[in-house]
Symmetry: C2
Amino acid sequence: MHAYTLSRALPSQSDQMSLPAAFDGTQPQPVSFYPSGSEIYAQGEKAGALYQVEFGAVRLYRLLADGRRQISAFHLAGETFGFEADATHHFFAEAINATGVRAVRPAAGADVSRKLLPLALKGLIRAQEHLLVLGRQSAIERVAAFLLDMAERQGGLQPVELPMSRMDIGDYLGLTIETVSRVFTKLKDKGTIRLLGLRNVEIVRYDTLRNISE
Amino acid sequence: MHAYTLSRALPSQSDQMSLPAAFDGTQPQPVSFYPSGSEIYAQGEKAGALYQVEFGAVRLYRLLADGRRQISAFHLAGETFGFEADATHHFFAEAINATGVRAVRPAAGADVSRKLLPLALKGLIRAQEHLLVLGRQSAIERVAAFLLDMAERQGGLQPVELPMSRMDIGDYLGLTIETVSRVFTKLKDKGTIRLLGLRNVEIVRYDTLRNISE
DNA sequence: CGGACTGTTGAACGTTCTCAAAGACCGTGG
DNA sequence: CCACGGTCTTTGAGAACGTTCAACAGTCCG
């Protein structure tokens, strides 16, 4: 059981960068920089914009009253987050590392739903698949599924980079940091993965990992 | 650990019923009847239509290779399900009881995304909130949250009707039927709820239940 | 080089699962 | 209407998995 103190850092804007906007019919926005651990938005805040990760990584999470945390999703470079069912944010969003985020504010009158729907549906499928992991899989199955997911999202490049801490992984997989650490060690000892650094993993045997994650 | 055999029943159509269609720009469809336990669609099938529950209840779920099941959502009368990110169903849908379902097939060229987006977003929020339950809550907290959710979806009317079996509840909450049963008994013994029948629960103390579910 | 934070490892505990058996409920047919 | 059979639910006892608590090790930055 653990509690979190939320640090709020005002993002700095760097108009230097000008990557293409995600949506047609949107007003171009500069990239905001968020230092490691800083809050992008909080639960209960007024929503309105979407956010596209330019570099770095973001965690979305909810808290229980006693401080237990569930990370519902990580978002890496290129991914979009921040859609809500109503005008309020239902989750916290924080930068995991030094992160650049571009706000995507739909132009008034633009048909945003046509662009937004595929993203929302993809998020829905992803969340529902994660339900299966949290509801029905063992610790080692969860970690294996997580590693495969991270590898896939990085295009299968080795080594796989884990931008987040063990605590983030635990709070995403519904495990404690100790259990996550033990499973990593076990997979390492079995020769399934190699730990190149705390946040760099080489997957030696993909098939073994796939079998573990079912 | 348990496996499921899927029974496929051809739905019978009753054109008698003609409740209003959910969406503008859709072709009106008759209500299809699905007997208890019958399959509405299967994982891997080609998707295309949406479904609105007219009466009865539906479960959406995924299976692991060894038969473990995770129900990602229940859908009661009036609710809509069946949206997918691509042209394929990623889940199974089954009638829990005798259930009437109306297919909602968008007319060609209709702007379905504008109508669909709110539903998808609501489903996303619901799934992500369920992640918190599965990832971070104890058995009694899960059951309490489930009962409150069912009560709310039925307008707070007493007694709360549970259309599904203990196994369905377990597979939704990531618990075994034995644990679900034990928690029900515990809540009954504490006087928080009253079990009027196997599938009828009276919530005696809402506040206690809310405190339990955090 | 030092200090704080993050991660790893160990031992004991607790919650939930598994296996087993008895009890309650329901639909069917007599 | 009641008896029967099958299914679902409840209850119990023991085992397993993951957590908790604690100490140590490693890593990152100053």
